[in-house]
Symmetry: D2
Subunit: 108 residues, 4 copies
């Protein structure tokens, strides 16, 4: 049997994988970034055990040479908080060496 | 060579396929539907030749027995207007016999 | 700091969320199901710490009244094995009460 | 009313938008590229009026510094043939100036 902390970590991972692969590829510009941030946050917060999702699209980094670009990990920072039976997990995504690394920030 | 009207129809199709396959599967509830409608509209409007996108998520139809459901064609109506070199195409999506049918409404 | 077992569970969750939200919505028929199963398995196995992915598309359940349908959790069973620093996690997805439930099967 | 040629162009556009936004973001490596090519082709060929889909993932271009990368337009060339009431449309996607351009190659 998995512990509650392990279950919480599993749930946090699900939210991260879902968020990334649902929205990667979405056309985004500096003008449309705020509505996309809100929609990503509110859609993933629907999922079970998800306390909060915070998405920051790095609009200053967006390639706008064609007016818009496709959302990838390069252009966003994400924090997700999961609560499973009282165990709280915080997970984050940011770029590390050109790779959008998702990692556990805390398990309490 | 394709005519401008044919190019306009091609562009309208691209927007519809993109919209549907980018956002199908997104977790959605009656509470989060408005932000998702706005994000879909603004993201697809970024694409070339796209004049306007109108998305109506049919919140009264959403299955909320698990608190939220995944967005599919069953739960949305969409209108897209494309302008290509002065030729305007209006395309729509709605359910027909259980299938989310995308169709040209007008080519002018 | 998270334990290796917690990290393994987090990684297993990422793979599940990624798999589901990358491929949900893909057009699928009984004829095309085998190639889609293989592609899902091989693509997710690329991800870090992922030992194996097994996808079974339930072709007998596919609604073929329009020739094909869109892939959802209703139509697939999945097992994912993750190894993180020697800790092995097995996670599974199957339908429970109309909901595609992802759960930890073992943490060793 | 739209002409058959215009309908054919609309259908070709739908397939292109669907293909791109369904599969963009999929983890891909030189080893997994062949199964993904086949799955993309067979899944999109399920759609109405779609005669053939040919996908070439440019494995020599894939960034493998992390073992795999995410599929984007930069890494694939696509040809789609649609037949609508006897009107055949060929559409193609390839990179132009850093942008994955989808265009009509012929309308017959």
């Amino acid at each position: 049997m998995a512990s509650d902390a392990e279950e919480a970590c599993f749930e946090a991972g699900i939210k991260f994988g879902a968020l990334y692969h649902q929205f990667a590829g979405t056309p985004v510009s500096p003008e449309s970034a705020p509505s996309l941030e809100t929609a990503i946050e509110e859609s993933i917060e629907n999922q079970p055990f998800c306390e909060s999702v915070t998405v920051d699209i790095l609009t200053e980094k967006l390639d706008t040479s064609h007016g818009y670009t496709e959302l990838t990990g390069e252009y966003m920072e994400v924090e997700i908080v999961v609560d499973y039976e009282g165990r709280e997990v915080v997970a984050e995504m940011a770029m590390r060496d050109g790779y959008p690394l998702m990692e556990l920030a805390s398990v309490e």
